[in-house]
């Protein structure tokens, strides 16, 4: 039986434990307390009188705070327990757990409360099989501390556990021998500080009790302010407001402040991507501009700062390239993985330009466009200089790091994702179709920025010429006339990879599709091989590589679907966009909780219930962001000069929707929409 897993999150710090709040190493899952990709606690097990505890209830107060109510002993006899324990944990820059032991009996209780404590300092990239590390454990009875420290050269990580109540401290935990009065209680605050050794062994961040309390209070206010800044949704649809609020809250949870940024940016998501991923962050920003635009300038500035500056094979870095992944763990620090700054992505660079333009359209923040002229120019230059690998004008990828580089450097980054209908993989370098759409869009948008903000009309003309040529060439070389859709990719010699895939939906989003072909693309996307009823599959059924539980060869991604729906509306396929929107939102509502990154591709009519994949993380920034993009897509929100255009096309049965106080260059504006079917016919649900 699979253990229930519970988490608290604060930026890129997170703790995953079981339903009782205990943490015990599990090679199958990243269980523990993690911060900056390092496991600072791998054992955290509470006993009372030598017995483990059982949960009576649990209250997930916020994403950074959980309260467990527990009783000692096995489930069979805890009903008459006269002792109970409340475990209240919160996470900010440190992990805090308040233990409260309650005595319900008429006699004083003499109890032994023990916390087993251990840290293995594993890198999250290797939690399945962590290497052995010599951890120096120092019980410090005098100061009431347990110190666990791991060092390798100057690299050092340390966990320091302290208790406000007196404790007996040994190498594997803390013991409290307590007396609790009748109807009385006993408390201790356990504080776990996680430190990164910097200059002269000093800690990088302050570790003061006042600071701690300040932050904890601050986080509640911060979440409320975040929700207050976002537009308010009023909807007749029973599920939509909760889904909207949940997605906003998940996005709040997944913001973090990297070492080199003063503002917070989205991480990928729990549990495997709690770090900066260029693609996830860029897509999340694109999805959330009408709602929480503050994520975008922070993300653009950070990615500009981390833009590639040199040729570097190990890191797949080239001048102008936008980051794929950034990690702080030991494997990255010592070069076992290239992830200290990894650039193995061909889509992040054009997406950077696309986001910069889209952000200005919404915000009117021309100043940022001027400030980021140089990185944006370098990004645009990268597309031609380093992205066009065989000189045929298409954006391609091929890793120069055969050991640890990513083979498929697009959003479908699993090794077997790019294959033809018969499961044959093309040679490298590969030009997937959606990369050409992004490159086209980046050039079109770059031209606008050059003309309107960079005072460079000649460059704008050149980009527009290139974009037009790319569009024409693309529609000639990628179109498969006998199949009526675009190829998934071209191999190095221009040979098409003929699989029918969700990538063609991104082409609509980018605007590279010839008007005359958009209908055929829309028909494929909503056909039975691609549309499961919940959403569009990554790869159409009926082809050899199709597998409903294969992440990129049959499963369904909400983020993918949100871009497809936006693309369909761009070309006027409103009814098709509404079907996808309804499917994804119903899936999210049916599953409850945070929107998963991916679900299985089984037909909805077959399984009735959305089938989850064990590997699917949640919350995930771009999955939560998908809910927001689907919402703005159904309302048809679009900046037009200094005004907000609203052109609602709601799915059947969605009733009335009001989105109030949408921020933008217009100040704040409201959008109203109603399901037109509802007024002419009885409600369907």
């Amino acid at each position: 039986m699979r253990q229930e897993r519970l988490h608290v999150i604060s930026g890129n710090a997170f703790a995953i434990g079981d339903g009782q709040g205990d943490i015990e190493v599990d090679p199958q899952a990243p269980v523990g307390l993690f911060f900056f990709d390092t496991r600072f606690l791998s054992r955290w097990v509470l006993t009372v009188g030598g017995e483990r505890l059982n949960a009576l209830s649990r209250d997930d107060l916020t994403y950074f705070e959980t309260r467990f109510v527990l009783v000692p002993g096995a489930a069979s006899h805890y009903v008459d327990a006269d002792v109970s324990v409340i475990r209240h944990r919160s996470l900010d820059d440190s992990f805090n757990e308040r233990l409260t032991v309650l005595n319900h009996a008429a006699e004083p209780a003499y109890l032994t409360v023990r916390m087993e404590i251990g840290a293995d300092f594993a890198d999250i990239a290797e939690v399945g099989q962590p290497r052995h590390r010599e951890v120096v454990v120092t019980p410090d009875a005098e100061r009431g501390l347990l110190r666990l420290r791991y060092a390798r050269g100057r690299f050092a990580r340390e966990t320091v556990i302290s208790s406000t109540a007196p404790a007996e401290i040994d190498r594997s935990g803390m013991t409290f021998r307590i007396r609790v009065e009748p109807d009385g209680q006993w408390n201790t605050d356990l504080h776990i500080a996680m430190t990164f050794q910097g200059e002269a062994g000093r800690d990088m961040r302050a570790d003061l009790t006042t600071h701690r309390h300040h932050i904890r209070r601050g986080m509640r206010d911060d979440l409320q302010a975040w929700l207050d800044r976002a537009p308010q949704l009023v909807a007749e649809h029973e599920a939509l407001p909760a889904l909207y609020r949940g997605s906003l809250t998940d996005l709040a949870a997944l913001r973090y402040e990297p070492l080199s940024s003063v503002d917070r940016v989205p991480v990928g998501g729990l549990p495997w991507a709690m770090s900066l991923y260029g693609r996830d962050s860029l897509i999340t920003c694109l999805q959330t501009l009408p709602f929480v635009p503050e994520l975008t300038p922070a993300t653009l500035r950070l990615l500009a700062l981390l833009q590639g500056g040199q040729l570097d094979d190990e890191h797949d870095e080239e001048p102008g390239k936008i980051l794929a992944e950034l990690r702080y763990g030991e494997l990255a620090a010592f070069g076992d993985r290239p992830t200290a700054l990894y650039y193995g992505a061909a889509d992040t660079t054009p997406l950077f330009v696309i986001l910069l333009d889209e952000y200005e359209r919404w915000s009117g923040d021309g100043e940022l466009v001027r400030q980021l002229r140089h990185p944006a120019r370098m990004a645009l230059d990268w597309i031609d200089e380093y992205g066009d690998l065989v000189g045929d004008g298409y954006l391609r990828y091929q890793s120069r790091n055969p050991r640890t580089g990513t083979v498929n450097q697009t959003w479908k980054d699993s090794a077997g994702a790019i294959v033809d209908r018969r499961c044959r993989a093309p040679a490298l370098p590969r030009a997937t179709c959606e990369l050409q759409g992004y490159a086209y869009d980046a050039k079109v948008r770059g031209a606008r920025l050059a003309r309107e903000f960079w005072d460079d009309p000649e460059y704008a003309d050149r980009l527009e010429r290139q974009a037009a040529q790319l569009r024409e060439r693309f529609n000639r070389d990628f179109w498969l006339p006998h199949r009526g859709h675009y190829a998934l990719a071209l191999g190095p010699d221009g040979e098409p990879v003929d699989a029918l895939s969700s990538n063609i939906g991104h082409l609509l989003w980018s605007g590279i599709v010839d008007e005359g072909r958009a209908g055929a693309v829309a028909e494929h996307l909503l056909g039975p091989d691609m549309f499961s009823g919940w959403g569009v599959r990554t790869l159409a059924a009926g082809q050899r590589p199709y597998n409903p539980v294969g992440s990129h060869v049959g499963a369904i991604w909400p983020s993918d679907n949100s871009l497809i729906a936006a693309g369909l509306r761009r070309y006027g396929y409103d009814e098709q966009a509404a079907r996808i929107t309804a499917g994804i939102l119903e899936m999210a509502h049916t599953l409850g909780g945070a929107v998963p990154e991916v679900i299985a591709g089984y037909p909805r009519s077959l399984t009735k219930y959305p089938v989850q994949l064990p590997s699917a993380g949640r919350p995930q920034s771009w999955s939560s962001g998908a809910v927001l993009l689907l919402l703005s897509t159904m309302l048809g929100l679009r900046p037009c000069g200094d005004n907000l255009l609203v052109d609602p096309r709601l799915p059947k049965g969605f009733g009335r929707i009001e989105l109030l106080d949408i921020p933008g260059r217009w100040g704040h504006a409201d959008a109203y929409g109603r399901d037109r079917v509802t007024v002419s016919r009885p409600r369907l649900r």
Binding site: L306, Q310, H315, G335, R370, Y386, L428
Partner: protein, 125 residues
């Protein structure tokens, strides 16, 4: 003969360096430690130029490391970000200026242009 960090800095010259972002300006002091003494190099970055001098003045970012580490950075043998995470390099002040070192010092000497993979070998794997 491979250059040391000091030789590299001396050779930088006053000309415009197009790879530097034009909207970024700041001061960076490099504190190179060797055998109990520290040599201070002061970089004034602005308008896509790097002006190099010897000074102990305060800077917006102070980068400290053994001279050998700086030499390895100047030869492109180690990545600044990895050195920072290993705590071989420490920084004080505005860490956002740190990434400029990636533009001022060269990358790995054996690095290839991505097109080199596809020409000659015919591409593919």
């Amino acid at each position: 003969m491979t250059a040391s960090a000091v030789e590299h800095l001396r050779r930088l010259g006053p000309s415009r360096r197009v790879e530097l972002p034009d909207a970024v300006a700041g001061t960076v002091r490099l504190d190179m430690r060797e055998e109990g003494r520290t040599e201070h190099w002061y970089l004034t970055i602005g308008d896509q130029r790097v002006q190099v001098s010897r000074s102990t003045d305060d800077a917006e970012l102070v980068v400290r490391a053994d001279r050998e580490i700086f030499d390895q950075l100047a030869r492109g043998e180690i990545h600044p970000a990895e050195a920072l995470m290993r705590n071989e390099v420490t920084v004080q002040g505005d860490i956002r200026l740190f990434m400029l070192l990636r533009r001022i010092f060269p990358g790995p000497p054996d690095a290839r242009h991505p097109r080199e993979l596809t020409t000659g070998t015919g591409g593919g794997r």
